[in-house]
Amino acid sequence: MMTFELDILRQKSAQDVPYRQSFMFETDDENAAVSTALTALNARSVLTDKNGEKALPISWECSCLQKKCGACAMVINGVPGLACDSKLSGLGRVITVEPLRKFPVIADLTVDRRAMFDALREMSVWAENAVAPSERTQDISYEASGCLQCGCCLEVCPNFYAGGSFAGMAGGVPLSRLIEQLSGEERRAVMKEYRRRVYEGCGKSLACRKICPAGLDIEKLMVNSNGAAAWKSLFRRKR
């Protein structure tokens, strides 16, 4: 049996003051993840914290529980990731769990990621006309369509803040599908959004690439989107 202490940054609602509360969780499943612990804690008939005090259920979001939907993004031991992708056994005995900081907290680990979706609408991330299916664009389009909109990349990005003009990779990745698939005037219009809201604000450190839980090849997508070699040389220089 393994015993873990989850040290959770809690907040009853946006108006309330944040506080920390620790919970003990025991399991013999070496594959148990942070999501497993949160589910089990909330399923207890009476939830008590480490000190035996009665506690409110922990607010968090999940859906697929197999790292394919991005719902459960949070900051675990200081690093953003998916709760269902973070095995307890690799995290030490005491594990800190906090909400994503770049978005307003709704309650506990639930945050409002609306800004991320708003940016996509503002940047007109859609195709105005029918796209011609093509083998040539298949691979990049597949990669770019894989974004979970989890927001982990935005959390580590030094240049992103919610509501700012820079959309980060949660905006850049979906745009790169359209850049690949569209042509002519339509493509030029998307490219313009891309330059203004992704390219210009990005420091190209690629902290986002290492963190992306979907494992998307952000560098490849960005190099492809730019067409001109600017990104390529920039990325090379950084390395």
């Binding site: 499943d29 070496e30 594959n31 148990a32 993840a33 999501s35 497993t36 589910t39 909330n42 399923a43 008939s45 979001e61 999940c62 859906s63 697929c64 529980l65 197999q66 394919k68 939907c69 991005g70 719902a71 269902c84 709704i106 639930t110 409002d112 990621r113 979706f117 996509l120 609408r121 007109s124 991330v125 859609w126 195709a127 105005e128 029918a130 796209v131 011609a132 299916p133 093509s134 083998e135 664009t137 298949q138 691979d139 389009s141 597949y142 369509s145 894989g146 974004c147 979970l148 909109q149 979906p174 599908r177 359209l178 698939q181």
Partner: protein
């Protein structure tokens, strides 16, 4: 101006919204979480359409026949005809939105999928559902920006509102603010399958709680084929759910065995020398159940993929190996993987006609929450098709009818709330349903489950999910035959006197079950 209320933003909900908006109508797209989190993103295998690009002379007629046969003739013939006829255009439309289907020589490539005689399944590597969703989400955004689609992405369905037998709106609760509003206008339910009735026991998502369907059942919405659950033979137990191991694992040479008297018994190969491990899903699942019951046999069935070549792992199943290693800490190239049949799809659900109308005027339903296309069993690749086409069809029916004069948005003054028991009770209900509605069923087993349900209701009170659960058990009890996914040990044969859907309706505090109209 009437705004149509769409509950659910997966494949069905998105397509309904796009169709309405294209027709110039306003809608609200209401879902517990944003579309990116819907169960539809999990689909891997593909979507069916007789595109006839593989040189096999496929036709919509064959697709129709395979679908009807697969559902063992319980599906709605008119609906299936419309579905299969429209399938090629549906897939072409999806491609025109930018879905990166696998292609070769300038056309979409199609593959074989269980129960179909032709290569008819279009796919995008191993994430077809995610690819469809991304393209549809982007398309929907166009109409959001134009003000035709309003998103309510953290909103929960509370109840349908009916006046004089007609649905005139829906009550919806904002999970973030806690406020509840009444949205006027007709309603399309696109709330997905009933995974939530079986907590931790399905390949689905936690978000599809089953509450919306259960509440509608309580409100008198007619259901059909509620007993029809599809079990997928190869799922692995991961924390809090079952995770699908794709059929391709067996397609590429994976073998099922159980330990018998210290030896590996490759039971599928012995029992079905022709198709072996590639028998239809329900047959494989049942055999797994039976061999586990045999004496001298162990209690675990293994999927042996140790004979697969390096090349197959690298080129054809790369994600699968990584996934199994991640979740089970087992390298499937070196060690057999313990598998178990798991609930994967709900063929039954809200009953609609071929135009997706329910028995309540103004209330429509589409996607996995409905039942018309799949009968007693669904073919892999037909459910995504049914969801996309269903959302479109429901919306088109609304476009063709006159607008309803409906209040726009008002504060809700009624007393209806989401009535759910504790997690512990949900789990108790789930396990008794699982006992009654297992892969192999019997009157005795079903009666036992019903008795447990009586006791649970007596101690915890009656909740909507219990009403629906009871209807599922009673439907399974009423169908005294074996057909498709429904296998009765006490009635192992098909009985053609029962070749009609099982209807369930809740009226005057009673659940009525009837086979056929």
């Amino acid at each position: 101006m009437e705004k149509i209320n769409i509950i659910g933003a997966g494949l069905a909900g998105l397509t309904a919204a796009i169709t309405l908006a294209k027709g110039g109508r306003h809608c609200r797209l209401i879902s517990l979480q944003p579309s990116e989190r819907a169960q539809s993103v999990l689909a891997e295998g593909g979507i069916n359409a007789a595109l006839d690009v593989m040189g096999e002379g496929d036709s919509t007629e064959y697709h129709f026949e395979d679908t009807m046969r697969g559902g063992v003739y319980l599906a709605d013939e008119t609906a299936v005809r419309r579905l299969t006829d429209a399938a090629p255009d549906t897939v072409k439309w999806l491609a025109s939105l930018g879905v990166p289907f696998n292609m070769a020589d300038g056309h979409i490539v199609q593959r074989n999928f269980g129960g179909q005689k032709k290569k008819r399944t279009a796919y995008a590597k191993s994430s077809t559902g995610k690819m469809l969703m991304t393209a549809l989400i982007d398309e929907t955004r166009k109409y959001e920006a134009a003000g035709l689609v309003e998103r309510y992405p953290h909103h929960e369905f509370v109840t349908a509102v009916t006046e004089g037998g007609e649905c005139t709106g829906a009550v919806v609760r904002d999970r973030y603010s806690g406020s509840t509003v009444l949205f006027g206008g007709r309603v399309i339910m696109c709330c997905g399958g009933l995974a939530g009735l079986f907590p931790s026991m399905t390949t689905g998502t936690t978000q599809n709680s089953g509450y919306a369907a259960a509440r509608l059942f309580e409100q008198g919405v007619r259901f059909s084929n509620a007993e029809m659950l599809q079990y997928h033979p190869t799922t692995i137990g991961i924390p809090d759910k079952r995770c699908l191991v794709t059929e391709a694992a067996r397609g590429e040479g994976g073998r099922l065995y159980i330990e018998r008297g210290g030896e590996k018994w490759y039971f599928m190969e012995e029992k079905y020398p022709e198709l072996k491990n590639l028998m239809p899903r329900d047959v494989v699942s049942r055999e797994m159940y039976f061999v586990r019951r045999e004496k001298d046999c162990g209690d675990t069935v293994f999927l042996d993929m140790t004979g697969l070549s390096q090349e197959i792992w690298q080129k054809r199943l790369p994600d699968l190996r990584a996934e199994i290693m991640h979740y089970l800490s087992i390298d499937p190239a070196k060690q057999p993987v313990p598998v178990h049949e798991g609930i994967h799809y709900f063929m039954g659900g809200i009953h609609t006609d071929a135009f997706h109308r329910t028995n309540i005027a103004g209330l429509y339903a589409a996607g996995e929450c409905t039942s018309q296309y799949h009968g007693a069993n669904r073919l892999g690749g037909n459910s995504m098709l049914g969801a996309v086409f269903g959302g479109k069809t429901a919306a088109e029916d609304i476009l063709a009818a006159a607008e309803m004069t409906a209040a726009d948005e008002t504060a809700y003054s009624g007393s209806e709330t989401v009535r759910e028991p504790t997690d512990a009770v949900k789990r108790q209900l789930g396990s008794l349903l699982y006992e009654g509605l297992g892969i192999v069923r019997s009157e005795q087993g079903i009666d036992k489950a019903l008795k447990k349900l009586d006791e649970l209701e007596a101690s915890e009170g009656v909740f909507p999910r219990m009403l629906l659960g009871r209807a599922m058990l009673l439907s399974a009890r009423e169908r005294r035959e074996s057909r498709g996914a429904h296998y009765r040990e006490d009635f192992p044969e098909k009985n053609d006197a029962l070749r009609a859907p099982t209807f369930a309706v809740y009226r005057n505090g009673r659940t009525e079950i009837k086979i056929g109209d």
